[in-house]
Symmetry: D2
Subunit: 342 residues, 4 copies
């Protein structure tokens, strides 16, 4: 088989770098173009010196790329920028978008949460939500896949099977989530300086984070009715990793069983023995999700804890998993690295 | 006024060191004895080189201390050890205990949570729970004060006034708490090694932590009925600081107002403007508590977030605050240092 | 005695905040004005929420401050900005400058290292270099004191007494220095983001750092001849603390003795027993310096290791120590806090 | 080709885990046995939950392993234990030892540095020092290879070519090294607790570290005369990564050229453009070494900075690289992962 030629747009950010890292040992992907407008002209090791050993194309502007050669584009641009770029891409190119731009099927919802009208509503219609384990077939046939938000993924992995199984009360869901700082990106901001983040912990976007829109959309669909959850994300003094502590009403044993069954054949999602719960370091740098279920002391309630790496399964790993499907490759190709610990 | 002579038992641990740090600039406390059985004979700077500038007594075993000279003993020993030591102290000595040994009024509850009968039930009867802002007068008159658990303090500061005001539903309280690792002490354990803690995050003692006993005791008393909360602590990759995210059912504005009123004259507890919420770094190394209230998007629910420093207001700062009351000193003496940031 | 009224210019940066922290428990300083051009109009807790418990003036622009009321100004502005501001201050106001603007007696040297002509050469002439332990008397009588660079201080404390004593070879001095990231300030830069700094370590400005100018100036003066040292700073994945590992040629025992004697009466500088060496955590948040001397295995060589807190003794603590002298207060006032550990 | 069956002895430590991580995606290695005396009976995910996705043998005691099936044993035991185990292995098994036990050709030197007589001097005679890039052919033919110390590797990569080329003065070498804490292992010790390591930095084993024995041995051999360097290691508040700042006397350009030439065909060692220097985060989790050369301001002197990951190229990656040679596999097999950043 010939290698599949890919381009990475937004190659100078953290998710772009993670795509390069994963693709560099992927046996069937060939990085044919790296796009980064503001760093065009630089070599990748000038931007990420850890890629010195790789033979990579020079960073370039999109206009200079011959897209007729490219089979699939990973678009790792900031929200709002992404839709403007993707609508210029030729139809022949498949697209995996890592931004929020095509995640919301309802463009009115998009406008509500992102404060601007959608610039490519016609593309939105064909976009498939990239939560692989739940939209596998649609993704395999899609031209445009919108990877989930990293926080959304961490919350949806434990909740979707419980919604499908009717194992929990949809009116009583609280997601207390903690995420590493790399999710905030590489653009310098006071709030993500080492001196501000290290040795400190706080919530942000309390009960108002945009990833709520994805929870609303996916959980309402899975429950078959309008569902509104409580969601409070917090910023961890660490680079990678998301842990979601999900408080639900339902029988703990039944909850565990619903999750165990749903994921027993999934290659990337592991449900721990009942009563165990995971740490973000158990999945650091890998495409795995670990989920644990513990009984609450209050009867009829359970605590479900999930972990994933925000840059891997939460974005770039998920993106490659989806690309594998879209390109007709085995879904797990290039994604079997074990977590790095310590 | 003459200085009050104090002894610190358990001076080689983190809370012991924090007591020394606070006492070292306290104008009315004089450290007359430092007790640390296994390190007896060493100078304090051998154990904590940061105290090199202080003129401190050598570490000693308790039996060698002339207690007739001592007005108050801070007992910073591990749980279970503490009761055995405190029952040997002469009646003339006041005691501030930082362990869990005397926190539970009901010795049956003690036995249930700590797995052993209480060794000094008669002392337990006279012990006062050290949540200063709620037991100030009892503390002032007490011989033995049992400082609260650091996690308990972080949860009780936001919840006690809401219980007293009847502003929330006692059946729907979830405390999702995150704590720095110094609370686990200085004894070497695999789980608190830097390689295990750094760049990782996990829950522990899920819905089963012993500080639940204090929540049960204090919240049941404040609500005037049996209350059982959900409580899940997590371990942060940072040394100091606790943040409790408390999910409650009640009117957010009323909740904020109840907290604001309750604490408006308190020197150490600050309620932020409605909608704001704090970070652990805002109180690092200080005796302050910051509390924020945010409306949930689900109507009739609020998210209350509190922060404190586990070694300061969560244990040694609280201990000095209580000692000030017990010794007839102004309550805030020696506790006015601003937080250290960054 | 009446309190001394001070102003802090540059109050929204880390050294500004550290000045507020120290001043807040200083018995003889009263913060009468806080200046921060870009944040003028804000309250200090909006910028540093940890100061919520303090009664501080609102942030303001300098033009709005009544300087006739102010006895001393701390100027914590970035390099180059400082000289333009200080030359506008009335003669009646004493000034402690924390920037590099007035450290170099030779304005030609200033131009060489900082790439621009000095804007206030007449002020430079009267400025005193703020290494308190070596210029105490000049500082006490000065109107303008230029605090040392934080790296320079860490290198000069071990080296100055050795130069004065002739205990080492001036041609063979290597300073390998490691510093926490707070020294880089609060302005957002890619290089100081948490994701870039945490779990990583590197050198910067190798053999070319501007603090070399201070080493040249002070060591040449102390040795009585032109001295050029090797100096390589590195960036630590921590917020506070500098450790300098200084490689020198000379008899280790004589070196230790020269340091011990020079500092035995100094309140802030401690020389450890021969063979011991310090950690940055032994001085975190405090105004202390710890210095250790160890024999090299190569005869006639020693390794001298010093630590200080870059924001405290390296800048704002040093600044208050100098201000105490300039204001006729006991030098150690307000600076006796023990280090914070952990 | 059939897979090579390997055993990992000492599988419950960090280097053991790193061996499993690397082997898990190595196409020609099959983990047939995992040995860990104190954890025998446990499954690997009980000890390292991040390996849950792998199909691994249960942890066992060595006596229970059928060694006739095993082609190569990785021995990741603590120093001193290793020699006792390795001498019991059948001659048919190749051995890669990660401990210090077989690194010193001269058993008198071993006794001097490790304070005990060598228990297997006859094995020591046949052992090959595992610095792959310098002993490649010997390693390919060896039965027993002793991987280098992680610190030694970080110092030898920059120094060996300079010694061979005669580009530096052998009497004037200073290695100021900084290492992450994972090198200290997983056994709980006060000094490696998070609260002790985080936000702190210090030297250890100043001018007395046992890895000096390896510098003595290898540099004396390379220079062709007795060489004694100065070596001061420091402990970084991070998990992985070593950076060595090496101060040498010699012409910087010639030094750079000697390194560049020596490594231009090496797959894992990269020499940066003259004047550039690396960070540990550029090699995190990978088998790469980056080396930079910068001119000192003092003429005829240079600063050479090298980085590697202590658990990868510093031990387990190096071990697999050597095993590849010993098993007749391409040397780089399984070792091409890009560094993880952030």
């Amino acid at each position: 088989m010939e290698k599949k030629r890919i381009a990475i747009v937004g190659a100078s950010g953290y998710t772009g770098a993670e795509l390069v890292r994963i693709a560099s040992t992927h046996p069937w992907l060939e990085i044919s173009a790296l796009v980064a407008d503001r760093k065009a002209g630089l070599e990748m090791p000038d931007v990420f010196p850890g890629f010195r050993h790789l033979d990579l194309p020079r960073l370039n502007v999109l206009a200079e790329i011959d897209l007729s050669e490219i089979e699939l584009v990973f678009c790792a641009l900031p929200h709002a920028t992404s839709q403007d770029v993707i609508k210029t891409l030729p139809e022949t190119v498949k697209v995996v978008d890592l931004s929020a731009d095509f995640r919301l099927r309802d463009t009115a919802e998009y406008r509500r949460w992102y404060g601007r009208p959608h610039a490519a509503p016609e593309l939105q219609e064909q976009a498939v939500y990239g939560l692989t384990e739940f939209y596998r077939e649609d993704i395999a046939g899609a031209r445009l896949v919108a990877c989930t938000g990293c926080n959304s993924a961490a919350g949806l992995f434990p909740l979707m099977p419980l919604a499908e199984a009717g194992a929990i009360d949809p009116g009583e869901i609280i997601i207390d989530l903690k995420t590493g700082v790399s999710g905030a990106g590489r653009s310098p901001k006071e709030g993500t300086l080492h001196s501000e983040v290290s040795e400190g912990f706080q919530a942000y976007s309390v009960a108002a984070h945009r990833h709520l829109a994805e929870f609303d959309q996916e959980l309402s669909r899975a429950f078959g009715k309008r569902v509104r959850v409580t969601f409070v994300p917090h910023l961890l003094p660490q680079n990678r990793g998301i842990l979601a502590t999900v408080y639900v009403r339902g029988e703990p044993a039944r909850i565990h069983e619903a999750l165990r069954r749903r994921y027993e054949r999934e290659p990337f999602v592991f449900v721990l023995p009942f009563g165990d719960h995971p740490s973000t370091r158990h999945v650091r740098g890998s495409n795995f999700v670990h989920i644990g279920v513990v009984s609450d002391r209050r009867e009829g309630r359970a605590i479900v804890i999930s972990v994933l790496d925000n840059l891997a399964k939460g974005s770039s790993g998920q993106a490659v998993q989806n690309a594998n499907l879209m390109l007709g490759l085995p879904e797990t190709t290039g994604l079997d690295s074990a977590p790095m610990f310590p």
